[in-house]
Protein backbone atom coordinates (compact mmCIF):
# COMPACT_ATOMS: atom_id res chain seq x y z
CA UNK A 1 0.00 0.00 0.00
CA UNK A 2 1.36 3.39 -0.89
CA UNK A 3 -0.83 5.18 1.68
CA UNK A 4 -0.48 8.94 1.75
CA UNK A 5 -3.17 11.52 1.36
CA UNK A 6 -3.75 10.95 -2.36
CA UNK A 7 -6.73 9.08 -3.75
CA UNK A 8 -6.03 7.09 -6.88
CA UNK A 9 -9.10 6.29 -8.93
CA UNK A 10 -10.53 5.77 -12.41
CA UNK A 11 -11.80 8.42 -14.78
CA UNK A 12 -13.88 6.97 -17.60
CA UNK A 13 -14.28 8.77 -20.92
CA UNK A 14 -17.71 8.02 -22.36
CA UNK A 15 -16.70 9.76 -25.57
CA UNK A 16 -13.87 7.33 -26.23
CA UNK A 17 -15.37 4.03 -25.08
CA UNK A 18 -16.37 1.82 -28.01
CA UNK A 19 -17.97 -0.92 -25.94
CA UNK A 20 -15.43 -3.65 -26.75
CA UNK A 21 -15.53 -5.21 -23.25
CA UNK A 22 -11.72 -5.54 -23.20
CA UNK A 23 -11.74 -4.06 -19.67
CA UNK A 24 -14.13 -6.78 -18.46
CA UNK A 25 -12.00 -9.52 -19.96
CA UNK A 26 -8.69 -8.05 -18.77
CA UNK A 27 -10.14 -7.74 -15.27
CA UNK A 28 -11.30 -11.34 -15.28
CA UNK A 29 -7.96 -12.47 -16.71
CA UNK A 30 -5.85 -10.56 -14.20
CA UNK A 31 -7.84 -11.98 -11.29
CA UNK A 32 -7.58 -15.50 -12.73
CA UNK A 33 -3.78 -15.33 -12.53
CA UNK A 34 -3.76 -16.03 -8.78
CA UNK A 35 -5.75 -18.70 -6.92
CA UNK A 36 -6.67 -16.22 -4.17
CA UNK A 37 -8.23 -13.67 -6.51
CA UNK A 38 -10.03 -15.83 -9.13
CA UNK A 39 -13.40 -14.42 -10.18
CA UNK A 40 -15.04 -17.79 -10.42
CA UNK A 41 -17.68 -19.05 -12.84
CA UNK A 42 -20.26 -21.69 -12.17
CA UNK A 43 -20.83 -24.02 -15.14
CA UNK A 44 -18.20 -22.03 -17.09
CA UNK A 45 -18.33 -24.21 -20.21
CA UNK A 46 -21.88 -25.52 -19.77
CA UNK A 47 -25.17 -24.28 -21.16
CA UNK A 48 -25.79 -21.71 -18.41
CA UNK A 49 -22.54 -20.12 -17.23
CA UNK A 50 -22.88 -17.83 -14.22
CA UNK A 51 -19.87 -15.91 -13.01
CA UNK A 52 -18.65 -12.87 -11.15
CA UNK A 53 -17.40 -9.84 -13.08
CA UNK A 54 -16.17 -6.55 -11.66
CA UNK A 55 -16.60 -4.61 -14.90
CA UNK A 56 -19.82 -4.42 -16.86
CA UNK A 57 -20.11 -2.43 -20.10
CA UNK A 58 -23.63 -1.19 -20.86
CA UNK A 59 -24.76 0.46 -24.08
CA UNK A 60 -27.36 3.20 -24.11
CA UNK A 61 -29.18 5.08 -26.83
CA UNK A 62 -29.36 8.78 -26.04
CA UNK A 63 -31.86 10.77 -28.11
CA UNK A 64 -31.51 14.54 -27.82
CA UNK A 65 -34.54 16.65 -28.67
CA UNK A 66 -33.24 18.12 -31.93
CA UNK A 67 -30.39 15.86 -32.95
CA UNK A 68 -30.02 12.29 -34.15
CA UNK A 69 -29.77 9.56 -31.52
CA UNK A 70 -26.31 8.47 -30.43
CA UNK A 71 -25.02 5.34 -28.76
CA UNK A 72 -23.07 5.72 -25.52
CA UNK A 73 -21.07 2.77 -24.24
CA UNK A 74 -21.00 2.91 -20.49
CA UNK A 75 -18.46 0.89 -18.46
CA UNK A 76 -19.62 0.43 -14.90
CA UNK A 77 -17.45 -0.66 -12.00
CA UNK A 78 -16.80 0.28 -8.38
CA UNK A 79 -16.50 4.07 -8.04
CA UNK A 80 -14.47 3.86 -4.79
CA UNK A 81 -16.75 6.30 -2.99
CA UNK A 82 -15.36 8.55 -0.28
CA UNK A 83 -18.53 7.78 1.66
CA UNK A 84 -19.13 4.17 0.57
CA UNK A 85 -22.57 2.85 1.66
CA UNK A 86 -21.27 -0.73 1.34
CA UNK A 87 -18.79 -0.39 4.23
CA UNK A 88 -20.90 0.63 7.29
CA UNK A 89 -23.61 -1.97 6.56
CA UNK A 90 -21.13 -4.87 6.74
CA UNK A 91 -21.72 -6.68 10.05
CA UNK A 92 -18.38 -8.52 10.09
CA UNK A 93 -15.96 -5.77 9.08
CA UNK A 94 -15.02 -7.70 5.93
CA UNK A 95 -15.91 -4.68 3.82
CA UNK A 96 -13.57 -1.79 4.54
CA UNK A 97 -11.97 1.34 3.16
CA UNK A 98 -8.20 1.61 3.06
CA UNK A 99 -6.37 4.78 4.07
CA UNK A 100 -5.72 5.50 0.38
CA UNK A 101 -9.46 5.40 -0.38
CA UNK A 102 -9.61 1.97 -2.03
CA UNK A 103 -12.66 0.00 -0.85
CA UNK A 104 -11.83 -3.68 -0.44
CA UNK A 105 -13.13 -6.95 1.02
CA UNK A 106 -11.32 -9.23 3.46
CA UNK A 107 -12.55 -12.51 1.99
CA UNK A 108 -11.76 -14.63 5.06
CA UNK A 109 -14.12 -12.54 7.17
CA UNK A 110 -17.00 -12.29 4.65
CA UNK A 111 -19.99 -14.45 5.56
CA UNK A 112 -21.73 -13.83 2.25
CA UNK A 113 -24.87 -12.10 3.54
CA UNK A 114 -25.01 -9.85 0.48
CA UNK A 115 -26.05 -6.72 2.37
CA UNK A 116 -23.18 -4.64 0.93
CA UNK A 117 -24.31 -5.48 -2.60
CA UNK A 118 -27.82 -4.35 -1.66
CA UNK A 119 -26.46 -1.10 -0.22
CA UNK A 120 -24.49 -0.08 -3.34
CA UNK A 121 -26.72 2.06 -5.59
CA UNK A 122 -24.43 1.34 -8.54
CA UNK A 123 -24.68 -2.47 -8.38
CA UNK A 124 -20.90 -2.73 -8.30
CA UNK A 125 -20.49 -5.79 -6.06
CA UNK A 126 -21.07 -9.40 -7.02
CA UNK A 127 -21.05 -12.54 -4.90
CA UNK A 128 -18.58 -15.13 -6.14
CA UNK A 129 -20.81 -18.14 -6.91
CA UNK A 130 -18.05 -20.63 -6.07
CA UNK A 131 -16.21 -19.00 -3.14
CA UNK A 132 -19.44 -17.66 -1.59
CA UNK A 133 -17.80 -14.36 -0.69
CA UNK A 134 -18.44 -10.87 -2.01
CA UNK A 135 -16.12 -9.57 -4.73
CA UNK A 136 -15.35 -6.07 -5.86
CA UNK A 137 -12.85 -3.97 -7.78
CA UNK A 138 -9.66 -3.16 -5.85
CA UNK A 139 -8.14 -1.12 -8.71
CA UNK A 140 -5.80 -4.13 -9.01
CA UNK A 141 -4.23 -3.34 -5.63
CA UNK A 142 -1.59 -6.02 -6.22
CA UNK A 143 -0.57 -4.39 -9.52
CA UNK A 144 -0.60 -0.69 -8.76
CA UNK A 145 1.64 -1.04 -5.69
CA UNK A 146 3.91 -3.76 -7.08
CA UNK A 147 7.49 -2.44 -6.79
CA UNK A 148 8.66 -5.08 -9.29
CA UNK A 149 6.75 -3.28 -12.04
CA UNK A 150 7.88 -0.21 -13.89
CA UNK A 151 5.98 3.01 -13.20
CA UNK A 152 3.90 2.85 -16.39
CA UNK A 153 2.87 -0.73 -15.59
CA UNK A 154 1.50 0.17 -12.17
CA UNK A 155 -2.02 0.71 -13.46
CA UNK A 156 -5.15 -1.44 -13.19
CA UNK A 157 -5.51 -4.24 -15.75
CA UNK A 158 -8.62 -2.62 -17.28
CA UNK A 159 -6.77 0.66 -17.91
CA UNK A 160 -3.82 -1.25 -19.38
CA UNK A 161 -6.15 -3.16 -21.72
CA UNK A 162 -8.39 -0.35 -22.97
CA UNK A 163 -7.56 0.08 -26.69
CA UNK A 164 -9.11 3.55 -27.01
CA UNK A 165 -7.71 5.15 -23.89
CA UNK A 166 -11.18 5.54 -22.41
CA UNK A 167 -10.00 4.62 -18.92
CA UNK A 168 -7.63 6.88 -17.01
CA UNK A 169 -6.01 6.14 -13.67
CA UNK A 170 -4.45 8.64 -11.31
CA UNK A 171 -4.63 10.72 -8.16
CA UNK A 172 -7.89 12.67 -8.22
CA UNK A 173 -6.91 14.77 -5.18
CA UNK A 174 -3.89 16.23 -6.98
CA UNK A 175 -5.23 19.15 -9.07
CA UNK A 176 -2.26 18.87 -11.46
CA UNK A 177 -2.64 15.16 -12.19
CA UNK A 178 -3.71 14.10 -15.67
CA UNK A 179 -7.03 12.76 -14.38
CA UNK A 180 -7.84 15.96 -12.48
CA UNK A 181 -7.06 18.08 -15.54
CA UNK A 182 -9.29 15.85 -17.70
CA UNK A 183 -12.14 16.17 -15.20
CA UNK A 184 -11.74 19.96 -15.14
CA UNK A 185 -11.50 20.32 -18.94
CA UNK A 186 -14.25 17.92 -19.91
CA UNK A 187 -16.73 18.51 -17.11
CA UNK A 188 -16.29 15.15 -15.41
CA UNK A 189 -19.26 14.22 -13.25
CA UNK A 190 -20.30 11.93 -10.38
CA UNK A 191 -22.88 9.17 -10.85
CA UNK A 192 -26.06 9.85 -8.84
CA UNK A 193 -24.51 12.42 -6.47
CA UNK A 194 -27.83 12.66 -4.63
CA UNK A 195 -27.08 9.38 -2.85
CA UNK A 196 -24.34 11.07 -0.85
CA UNK A 197 -21.71 8.50 -1.83
CA UNK A 198 -19.14 11.04 -3.09
CA UNK A 199 -17.56 8.78 -5.72
CA UNK A 200 -13.87 9.39 -6.39
CA UNK A 201 -14.30 7.98 -9.91
CA UNK A 202 -15.65 10.41 -12.48
CA UNK A 203 -17.26 10.06 -15.89
CA UNK A 204 -16.36 12.34 -18.80
CA UNK A 205 -19.55 13.06 -20.78
CA UNK A 206 -19.75 12.22 -24.50
CA UNK A 207 -19.24 15.23 -26.74
CA UNK A 208 -22.43 16.23 -28.59
CA UNK A 209 -22.63 14.98 -32.17
CA UNK A 210 -23.33 17.16 -35.21
CA UNK A 211 -26.89 18.25 -35.84
CA UNK A 212 -28.90 16.84 -38.78
CA UNK A 213 -28.11 18.78 -41.99
CA UNK A 214 -30.74 21.37 -42.73
CA UNK A 215 -29.23 22.70 -46.01
CA UNK A 216 -31.17 22.74 -49.29
CA UNK A 217 -31.00 19.51 -51.36
CA UNK A 218 -28.12 19.12 -53.80
CA UNK A 219 -28.36 21.35 -56.92
CA UNK A 220 -29.48 19.67 -60.12
CA UNK A 221 -26.62 18.56 -62.38
CA UNK A 222 -28.54 18.94 -65.64
CA UNK A 223 -30.81 21.79 -66.64
CA UNK A 224 -34.53 21.12 -67.16
CA UNK A 225 -35.50 19.92 -70.66
CA UNK A 226 -33.41 18.42 -73.39
CA UNK A 227 -32.00 14.95 -73.91
CA UNK A 228 -29.74 15.08 -70.83
CA UNK A 229 -32.73 15.76 -68.60
CA UNK A 230 -34.61 12.85 -70.19
CA UNK A 231 -31.65 10.52 -69.49
CA UNK A 232 -31.33 11.89 -65.97
CA UNK A 233 -35.00 11.11 -65.24
CA UNK A 234 -34.71 7.70 -66.85
CA UNK A 235 -31.68 6.71 -64.75
CA UNK A 236 -32.74 8.37 -61.49
CA UNK A 237 -34.21 6.20 -58.78
CA UNK A 238 -37.52 8.06 -58.61
Amino acid sequence: MSGGAGKRTLVIDLDACVGCHACSIACKGWHAARPGTVLADEDAYGPAPFGAFLNRVHSYEVTPAERPAQVVHFPRTCLHCENPPCVPVCPTGASRQRADGIVEIVAERCMGCGLCAWACPYGARELDPVAGTMRKCTLCANRIDDPARSEDERIPACVRACPTGARHFGDITDPDSAVSRLVAERGGYDLMPGFGTQPTSKYLPPRPRDALPTDAPLPKLVPEGGIEHWFDRLLARD
Partner: protein
Protein backbone atom coordinates in the same frame (compact mmCIF):
# COMPACT_ATOMS: atom_id res chain seq x y z
CA UNK B 1 -35.01 -7.56 -4.63
CA UNK B 2 -35.03 -11.36 -4.72
CA UNK B 3 -37.68 -12.68 -2.31
CA UNK B 4 -35.43 -15.33 -0.77
CA UNK B 5 -37.36 -17.78 1.46
CA UNK B 6 -34.64 -17.49 4.14
CA UNK B 7 -35.12 -13.76 4.72
CA UNK B 8 -38.91 -13.92 4.42
CA UNK B 9 -39.14 -16.68 7.06
CA UNK B 10 -36.51 -14.93 9.19
CA UNK B 11 -38.29 -11.58 9.35
CA UNK B 12 -41.82 -13.00 9.70
CA UNK B 13 -41.01 -15.64 12.33
CA UNK B 14 -38.61 -13.58 14.43
CA UNK B 15 -41.02 -10.61 14.31
CA UNK B 16 -43.91 -12.83 15.42
CA UNK B 17 -41.79 -14.45 18.14
CA UNK B 18 -40.45 -11.19 19.59
CA UNK B 19 -43.91 -9.62 19.43
CA UNK B 20 -45.32 -12.54 21.44
CA UNK B 21 -42.46 -12.37 23.95
CA UNK B 22 -42.91 -8.60 24.33
CA UNK B 23 -46.64 -8.78 25.13
CA UNK B 24 -46.09 -11.72 27.50
CA UNK B 25 -43.29 -9.75 29.16
CA UNK B 26 -45.70 -6.87 29.72
CA UNK B 27 -48.09 -9.30 31.40
CA UNK B 28 -50.69 -9.05 28.62
CA UNK B 29 -50.33 -12.77 27.93
CA UNK B 30 -49.69 -15.75 30.15
CA UNK B 31 -49.33 -19.48 29.88
CA UNK B 32 -46.72 -21.96 28.69
CA UNK B 33 -48.07 -22.17 25.13
CA UNK B 34 -47.62 -18.44 24.49
CA UNK B 35 -44.09 -18.36 25.94
CA UNK B 36 -43.15 -21.48 23.95
CA UNK B 37 -44.51 -19.95 20.75
CA UNK B 38 -42.60 -16.72 21.45
CA UNK B 39 -39.23 -18.37 22.03
CA UNK B 40 -39.87 -20.99 19.33
CA UNK B 41 -40.70 -18.54 16.54
CA UNK B 42 -37.97 -16.05 17.54
CA UNK B 43 -35.28 -18.75 17.49
CA UNK B 44 -36.70 -20.41 14.37
CA UNK B 45 -36.53 -17.05 12.60
CA UNK B 46 -32.90 -16.53 13.58
CA UNK B 47 -32.02 -20.04 12.39
CA UNK B 48 -33.73 -19.29 9.06
CA UNK B 49 -31.62 -16.12 8.70
CA UNK B 50 -28.43 -18.20 8.67
CA UNK B 51 -29.66 -20.02 5.53
CA UNK B 52 -29.26 -16.71 3.71
CA UNK B 53 -25.50 -16.76 4.38
CA UNK B 54 -23.06 -18.27 1.93
CA UNK B 55 -20.75 -18.95 4.91
CA UNK B 56 -23.04 -19.55 7.92
CA UNK B 57 -20.13 -20.70 10.08
CA UNK B 58 -18.73 -17.17 9.91
CA UNK B 59 -21.96 -15.76 11.43
CA UNK B 60 -20.23 -15.13 14.80
CA UNK B 61 -18.18 -12.41 13.04
CA UNK B 62 -21.48 -10.55 12.62
CA UNK B 63 -21.34 -9.34 16.24
CA UNK B 64 -18.30 -7.15 15.55
CA UNK B 65 -19.51 -4.04 13.73
CA UNK B 66 -22.44 -2.96 15.93
CA UNK B 67 -21.24 0.64 15.81
CA UNK B 68 -22.21 1.01 12.16
CA UNK B 69 -24.13 -2.07 10.99
CA UNK B 70 -27.84 -2.62 11.68
CA UNK B 71 -27.37 -6.32 10.93
CA UNK B 72 -24.79 -6.51 13.70
CA UNK B 73 -27.03 -4.53 16.08
CA UNK B 74 -29.88 -6.90 15.24
CA UNK B 75 -27.73 -9.89 16.20
CA UNK B 76 -26.91 -8.33 19.57
CA UNK B 77 -30.46 -7.12 20.24
CA UNK B 78 -31.94 -10.58 19.53
CA UNK B 79 -29.45 -12.27 21.82
CA UNK B 80 -29.91 -9.81 24.69
CA UNK B 81 -33.73 -9.79 24.36
CA UNK B 82 -33.88 -13.59 24.47
CA UNK B 83 -31.51 -13.71 27.44
CA UNK B 84 -33.55 -11.19 29.45
CA UNK B 85 -36.82 -12.94 28.60
CA UNK B 86 -35.75 -16.39 29.88
CA UNK B 87 -35.93 -15.56 33.64
CA UNK B 88 -39.13 -13.53 33.07
CA UNK B 89 -40.77 -16.53 31.40
CA UNK B 90 -39.60 -18.95 34.09
CA UNK B 91 -40.88 -16.64 36.85
CA UNK B 92 -44.24 -16.26 35.10
CA UNK B 93 -44.61 -20.03 34.65
CA UNK B 94 -43.65 -20.58 38.29
CA UNK B 95 -46.47 -18.26 39.32
CA UNK B 96 -44.37 -15.29 40.48
CA UNK B 97 -45.48 -11.85 39.39
CA UNK B 98 -42.53 -9.93 40.83
CA UNK B 99 -40.57 -9.58 37.57
CA UNK B 100 -42.78 -6.91 36.01
CA UNK B 101 -39.91 -4.43 35.60
CA UNK B 102 -37.66 -7.08 34.02
CA UNK B 103 -40.58 -8.03 31.78
CA UNK B 104 -41.04 -4.45 30.68
CA UNK B 105 -37.32 -4.10 29.96
CA UNK B 106 -37.41 -7.38 28.03
CA UNK B 107 -40.41 -6.15 26.03
CA UNK B 108 -38.49 -2.99 25.17
CA UNK B 109 -35.51 -5.08 24.05
CA UNK B 110 -37.82 -7.20 21.86
CA UNK B 111 -39.05 -4.00 20.22
CA UNK B 112 -35.42 -2.90 19.71
CA UNK B 113 -34.66 -6.27 18.08
CA UNK B 114 -37.58 -5.91 15.64
CA UNK B 115 -36.60 -2.28 14.97
CA UNK B 116 -33.01 -3.35 14.18
CA UNK B 117 -34.33 -6.04 11.82
CA UNK B 118 -36.44 -3.44 10.02
CA UNK B 119 -33.52 -1.02 9.78
CA UNK B 120 -31.41 -3.62 7.93
CA UNK B 121 -33.81 -2.81 5.08
CA UNK B 122 -34.92 0.70 6.03
CA UNK B 123 -31.34 2.02 6.03
CA UNK B 124 -30.75 1.20 2.35
CA UNK B 125 -30.98 4.36 0.26
CA UNK B 126 -30.34 2.20 -2.80
CA UNK B 127 -33.80 0.63 -2.31
CA UNK B 128 -36.04 3.71 -2.21
CA UNK B 129 -39.24 1.78 -1.41
CA UNK B 130 -37.63 0.59 1.85
CA UNK B 131 -35.77 3.78 2.75
CA UNK B 132 -38.71 5.34 4.58
CA UNK B 133 -40.05 5.51 8.14
CA UNK B 134 -42.94 3.23 7.16
CA UNK B 135 -40.54 0.23 7.02
CA UNK B 136 -39.78 0.12 10.77
CA UNK B 137 -43.41 1.12 11.49
CA UNK B 138 -44.70 -1.81 9.46
CA UNK B 139 -42.29 -4.32 11.04
CA UNK B 140 -43.18 -3.14 14.55
CA UNK B 141 -46.94 -3.24 13.95
CA UNK B 142 -46.63 -6.71 12.39
CA UNK B 143 -44.76 -7.93 15.50
CA UNK B 144 -47.23 -6.28 17.87
CA UNK B 145 -50.24 -7.73 16.03
CA UNK B 146 -48.75 -11.23 15.95
CA UNK B 147 -48.04 -10.98 19.68
CA UNK B 148 -51.54 -9.72 20.44
CA UNK B 149 -53.10 -12.76 18.76
CA UNK B 150 -51.50 -14.96 21.44
CA UNK B 151 -52.19 -12.49 24.27
CA UNK B 152 -55.27 -12.51 26.49
CA UNK B 153 -57.19 -9.48 25.23
CA UNK B 154 -59.37 -10.16 22.18
CA UNK B 155 -60.23 -6.47 21.89
CA UNK B 156 -56.54 -5.53 21.61
CA UNK B 157 -55.94 -8.24 19.00
CA UNK B 158 -58.91 -7.22 16.84
CA UNK B 159 -57.93 -3.56 17.05
CA UNK B 160 -54.32 -4.23 16.07
CA UNK B 161 -55.39 -6.55 13.23
CA UNK B 162 -57.58 -3.86 11.71
CA UNK B 163 -54.85 -1.26 12.22
CA UNK B 164 -52.27 -3.51 10.56
CA UNK B 165 -54.42 -4.05 7.46
CA UNK B 166 -55.01 -0.33 7.16
CA UNK B 167 -51.31 0.48 7.53
CA UNK B 168 -50.25 -2.22 5.06
CA UNK B 169 -52.68 -0.99 2.40
CA UNK B 170 -51.56 2.61 2.95
CA UNK B 171 -47.86 1.63 2.68
CA UNK B 172 -48.46 -0.17 -0.64
CA UNK B 173 -50.20 2.83 -2.18
CA UNK B 174 -48.00 5.53 -0.64
CA UNK B 175 -44.89 3.63 -1.81
CA UNK B 176 -46.17 3.53 -5.39
CA UNK B 177 -46.94 7.24 -5.34
CA UNK B 178 -43.59 8.16 -3.77
CA UNK B 179 -41.60 6.17 -6.34
CA UNK B 180 -43.55 7.43 -9.33
CA UNK B 181 -42.42 10.95 -8.36
CA UNK B 182 -38.87 10.03 -7.38
CA UNK B 183 -37.24 11.12 -10.63
CA UNK B 184 -35.24 7.86 -10.73
CA UNK B 185 -34.77 7.17 -14.45
CA UNK B 186 -31.98 5.68 -16.61
CA UNK B 187 -31.10 9.26 -17.54
CA UNK B 188 -30.62 10.11 -13.86
CA UNK B 189 -28.59 6.99 -13.12
CA UNK B 190 -26.20 7.41 -16.06
CA UNK B 191 -25.97 11.18 -15.76
CA UNK B 192 -26.81 11.37 -19.47
CA UNK B 193 -30.38 12.57 -18.97
CA UNK B 194 -29.38 16.17 -19.70
CA UNK B 195 -28.25 15.16 -23.19
CA UNK B 196 -31.52 13.49 -24.14
CA UNK B 197 -33.80 10.53 -23.54
CA UNK B 198 -31.78 7.49 -22.35
CA UNK B 199 -32.75 3.95 -23.29
CA UNK B 200 -30.85 0.73 -22.62
CA UNK B 201 -29.73 -0.56 -26.00
CA UNK B 202 -27.66 -3.57 -25.01
CA UNK B 203 -27.13 -5.28 -21.67
CA UNK B 204 -23.58 -5.83 -20.41
CA UNK B 205 -23.92 -9.62 -20.43
CA UNK B 206 -25.71 -12.40 -22.30
CA UNK B 207 -26.91 -14.31 -19.23
CA UNK B 208 -27.99 -13.57 -15.70
CA UNK B 209 -25.58 -12.21 -13.09
CA UNK B 210 -25.63 -11.97 -9.32
CA UNK B 211 -26.83 -8.39 -9.68
CA UNK B 212 -29.72 -9.25 -11.99
CA UNK B 213 -30.81 -12.25 -9.91
CA UNK B 214 -30.48 -10.60 -6.53
CA UNK B 215 -31.46 -6.99 -7.16
CA UNK B 216 -33.34 -6.66 -10.42
CA UNK B 217 -35.37 -9.58 -11.77
CA UNK B 218 -38.10 -9.75 -9.11
CA UNK B 219 -39.13 -6.09 -9.16
CA UNK B 220 -39.24 -6.03 -12.96
CA UNK B 221 -42.09 -8.56 -12.97
CA UNK B 222 -44.32 -5.71 -11.85
CA UNK B 223 -46.84 -5.41 -9.05
CA UNK B 224 -49.52 -7.91 -8.18
CA UNK B 225 -52.83 -6.42 -7.06
CA UNK B 226 -54.13 -9.91 -6.18
CA UNK B 227 -51.28 -10.63 -3.80
CA UNK B 228 -51.59 -7.19 -2.23
CA UNK B 229 -55.27 -7.79 -1.54
CA UNK B 230 -54.43 -11.25 -0.16
CA UNK B 231 -51.73 -9.80 2.11
CA UNK B 232 -53.99 -7.04 3.46
CA UNK B 233 -56.93 -9.43 3.93
CA UNK B 234 -55.07 -12.37 5.45
CA UNK B 235 -52.71 -10.51 7.77
CA UNK B 236 -55.36 -8.41 9.52
CA UNK B 237 -58.95 -8.46 8.28
CA UNK B 238 -59.43 -12.25 8.23
CA UNK B 239 -57.89 -12.82 11.71
CA UNK B 240 -60.09 -10.04 13.11
CA UNK B 241 -63.19 -11.72 11.65
CA UNK B 242 -62.04 -15.12 12.96
CA UNK B 243 -61.50 -13.72 16.47
CA UNK B 244 -64.91 -12.06 16.47
CA UNK B 245 -67.00 -14.90 15.04
CA UNK B 246 -65.36 -18.28 15.73
CA UNK B 247 -65.74 -20.12 19.03
CA UNK B 248 -62.91 -19.30 21.40
CA UNK B 249 -61.21 -22.68 21.17
CA UNK B 250 -60.56 -22.38 17.44
CA UNK B 251 -60.43 -18.62 17.13
CA UNK B 252 -56.83 -18.04 18.27
CA UNK B 253 -55.39 -20.91 16.23
CA UNK B 254 -57.33 -19.91 13.09
CA UNK B 255 -56.50 -16.22 13.49
CA UNK B 256 -52.79 -16.97 14.04
CA UNK B 257 -52.65 -19.24 10.99
CA UNK B 258 -54.39 -16.68 8.78
CA UNK B 259 -52.19 -13.85 10.11
CA UNK B 260 -48.95 -15.78 9.47
CA UNK B 261 -50.08 -16.65 5.94
CA UNK B 262 -50.85 -12.98 5.33
CA UNK B 263 -47.56 -11.88 6.91
CA UNK B 264 -45.59 -14.29 4.67
CA UNK B 265 -47.48 -12.95 1.64
CA UNK B 266 -46.87 -9.34 2.68
CA UNK B 267 -43.17 -9.98 3.32
CA UNK B 268 -42.80 -11.75 -0.04
CA UNK B 269 -44.21 -8.60 -1.65
CA UNK B 270 -41.96 -6.41 0.55
CA UNK B 271 -38.96 -7.98 -1.16
CA UNK B 272 -40.34 -8.77 -4.62
CA UNK B 273 -41.75 -5.28 -5.21
CA UNK B 274 -38.73 -3.36 -3.88
CA UNK B 275 -36.87 -1.77 -6.76
CA UNK B 276 -33.08 -1.44 -6.42
CA UNK B 277 -31.64 1.71 -7.98
CA UNK B 278 -29.18 -0.42 -10.01
CA UNK B 279 -32.18 -1.62 -12.04
CA UNK B 280 -31.96 1.74 -13.84
CA UNK B 281 -28.68 0.67 -15.46
CA UNK B 282 -30.40 -2.43 -16.83
CA UNK B 283 -33.20 -0.60 -18.63
CA UNK B 284 -35.62 -0.53 -15.72
CA UNK B 285 -37.62 2.49 -14.64
CA UNK B 286 -38.54 3.39 -11.07
CA UNK B 287 -40.02 6.81 -11.68
CA UNK B 288 -42.79 7.30 -14.24
CA UNK B 289 -41.26 10.40 -15.80
CA UNK B 290 -38.42 10.38 -18.31
Amino acid sequence: MRPAPSVILFTVFSGFGFGTLALHGLGLGTGAAGWAAGFGFAILGLVCSTFHLAHPLRAPFAFRQWRTSWLSREAWACLVALAVMVPVALADLAGHSGLLLAGAIGAGLCAVAVFCTSMIYGQLRAVPRWHHWTTPALFLVFALTGGALLADSTMLAVGLCLGLSGLLAAVFLAGDRRLSRSGLTPGHATGLGGAGRVRSLELPRTGPSYITRELIEASRRGRSATLRVAAVGLSGLAPAVALALLPEAFAVLAATGLHLAGALCARWLFFAEAEHVATLYYGGHISEDG
